[in-house]
């Protein structure tokens, strides 16, 4: 990994202008766990994008021939051209897991998009305007925070199940949005805190003095200066979102069959756990890898973006 640049002895190397991101990358690179996380996240993303193309079968294709040959029981791994075996209907587990990767990675992105879309503007408004706006927004976050979140998501998805929103993306979009609606509070509070401390700084005063509009100060100066912690919070929020989706899918909320997310696959395989443990094991491993890789990457980003904070939280 070390750079192989040779510098002449005694020569003074002009220090390149290193931006925050370049420096952060330098630190991140040295963090083994974070790199493992980054690689795993990249693989998961690739699997989500290209998985269904490279999958040996369509996720809902029942291999009746093989199933019949095997006495109508789930096929164990490495049989009849099914690398990870099949479920009780002869559907290829690997193909279903790859489709599940697409679901889990979409959760990661859509939920965090909703979180940013709500959390950043609200937090920025609260921090910038202060006073009444601030107390109103903060009281609002209190209310959202007090909602039992998984239960709220269940209620919302049952309520809107038959609407176009509830049907979009095989029933997934609604669940994603519902998860997002319950998870933006952290980001809003974070952005507010950043705003409060940054708006007292000299560069903001200078910007005000030369007549920069409020709107531009917030969007051009404050938000970019505070985006490190937000990125960290977003990354660390992803495992929570993936876990929430998996948990909901496990109790049968969200994705509609024949599509299956990893949580649904666990629930589906549970009935056959004694004879075919692979049906639970492989999806559980997928969930574990997804949760860990984003956690490691998020931890690494936090340490890299703010060395002062290292180890905190």
């Amino acid at each position: 990994m070390a750079s192989t640049q040779v510098v002449a002895r005694g020569a003074i190397e002009p220090r390149a202008t290193t931006g925050l991101w370049r420096e952060a990358w330098g630190r991140l690179r040295k963090n083994k766990l974070a790199i493992v996380g980054l690689i795993a996240v990249s693989i998961l993303m690739l699997a989500a994008v290209f998985g269904p193309m490279i999958a040996p079968y369509p996720y809902d294709f029942p291999d009746k021939e093989a199933l019949k040959a095997y006495g109508f029981k789930p096929l164990p791994p490495m049989t009849a051209g099914h690398l990870l075996g099949t479920d009780q209907l002869g559907r290829d587990l690997l193909s279903r897991l790859l489709d599940g990767a697409r679901i889990s990675m979409t959760v990661a992105l859509v939920v965090q998009f909703v979180v940013l879309f709500i959390g950043v503007p609200l937090g920025a408004m609260a921090g910038w305007f202060g006073g009444r706006v601030d107390s109103f927004v903060m009281r609002f976050t209190d209310v959202v925070y007090a909602f039992p979140d998984l239960l709220f998501i269940i209620l919302l998805s049952v309520t809107l199940k038959d609407t176009p929103l509830g049907q979009a993306m095989d029933g997934l979009l609604l669940v994603f949005i519902a998860i997002g609606l319950t998870s933006w509070v952290t980001v809003a509070r974070l952005v507010r805190g950043q705003m409060l401390s940054l708006k007292e700084t000299e560069f903001v005063e200078a910007a005000k003095a030369i007549g920069v509009s409020d709107r531009n100060i917030v969007t051009r100066h404050l938000l970019p200066n505070g985006n490190g912690p937000v990125i960290v919070a977003i990354t660390l929020g992803i495992p929570g979102a993936i876990l929430a989706e998996a948990t909901l899918a496990y109790i049968g909320i969200g994705v509609q069959p024949p599509r299956a997310s990893w949580g649904y696959l666990v629930a589906d395989g549970e009935k056959y756990i004694r004879s075919s443990p692979h049906l639970v094991l492989f999806p559980a491993i997928c969930i574990a890898v997804a949760l860990l890789s984003f956690t490691f990457l998020g931890d690494g980003l936090r340490d890299a973006l703010d060395p002062k904070l290292k180890g905190k939280q």
């Binding site: 009281r139 209190d142 209310v143 039992p148 559980a284 890898v289």
Partner: protein, 305 residues
């Protein structure tokens, strides 16, 4: 402090009001009603049932009536268990849910805290790696997966504990462990980070240099200070253990209120659904309050006004 406390306690009321209003609205927007059955009831019967339970009144009036009931701690009748009131149904369930939550909490704290402390004291050596390993497993395993594994190994495999039920200590073990897995990981990580942070503080160096023994430095100076930030997450964790246990209750057939929440949505049992939601929301709001007060108590630098 007293004024702050009163303000915070009073603030719970509007929070619960909004939570209940949103839930009430969503609930009545759910298609179908409590009297939907496989065999369609005659329209006249449905009308009469609606009249008996006040469902024929406008939505806003139903909400007002519900709020008036709550003030007298009357959660109304249950639609699915026709001979019982919601209060009656939940009374037993709440105790079970709290018992499960508190047991998991105690387990999580009594494993997580020492593990985090040991990890920090043995930083970058085997105690650290062991503790980190435990927390990695805890983070990577959703509670329902952990529950399945526990049942597979300890009930079906070794036969030590029954698969489901809630009758006596023997049946408490697996649900408690399954529920505590994630909090153990969180507490361990948090404690470890907080301890490492404290290790670098000046007052620790001072304590060492004035000749305080290692043990005393750790127990009197490090742990005490390191636990302050840990306390802030204990409240949300306890709230999570009480409100988030419905999955575990479902898997192990524990008769807590989480089970009723899921069935009440399916059955459109409006009063039962409202009651469980309010209880959950109150738990979360209350835990937050407790944490903030506790925070000021253990860290004298924090003053509320």
């Amino acid at each position: 402090m007293a004024r702050y406390l009163i303000r915070r306690v009073l603030w719970i009321i509007p929070v619960l009001f909004v939570v209940s209003l949103v839930t009430f609205t969503l609930m009545h927007a759910v298609p179908g009603g409590p009297w939907d059955q496989d065999k369609r009831l005659p329209a006249a019967t449905i009308e009469r049932l609606n009249a008996i339970y006040g469902l024929d009144k406008p939505i806003w009036e139903q909400y007002v009536n519900w709020v008036l009931g709550i003030i007298h701690l009357d959660f109304g009748p249950s639609y699915q268990f026709k001979d019982r009131t919601v209060t009656d149904i939940l009374a037993g369930g709440i105790l079970t849910t709290i018992q499960l939550g508190v047991m998991a909490f105690i387990l999580a704290v009594s494993i997580g805290l020492p593990l985090g402390i040991i990890a920090a004291l043995g930083h970058n050596r085997w105690p650290d790696y062991t503790a980190t390993g435990v927390s990695v497993i805890g983070i990577a395993t959703p509670s329902f997966v952990l529950a399945i594994m526990l049942i597979l190994v300890f009930s079906l495999g070794l036969g030590w504990f029954p698969v489901t039920g809630w009758k006596g200590p023997n049946t408490w073990v697996l649900p408690t462990i399954a529920l505590a897995g994630f909090p153990i990981a969180v507490i361990t990580r948090y404690t470890r980070a907080s301890m490492l942070e404290v290790t670098r503080k000046d007052y620790i160096r001072t304590a060492h240099s004035k000749g305080v023994g290692d043990r005393a430095v750790v127990s009197r100076h490090m742990i005490r200070n390191a636990l302050i930030p840990v306390v802030t997450i204990l409240g949300p964790i306890l709230a999570f253990l009480i409100t988030g246990s419905f999955i575990i209750e479902n898997i192990f057939a524990v008769p807590g209120i989480g089970k009723y929440y899921l069935t009440s949505i399916a059955q459109r049992d409006y009063p039962l659904l409202m009651a469980t939601t309010i209880i959950y929301a109150f738990t979360i709001a209350f835990m937050n309050l407790v944490v903030d007060v506790l925070y000021a108590y253990i860290d004298p630098r924090i003053r509320y006004s």
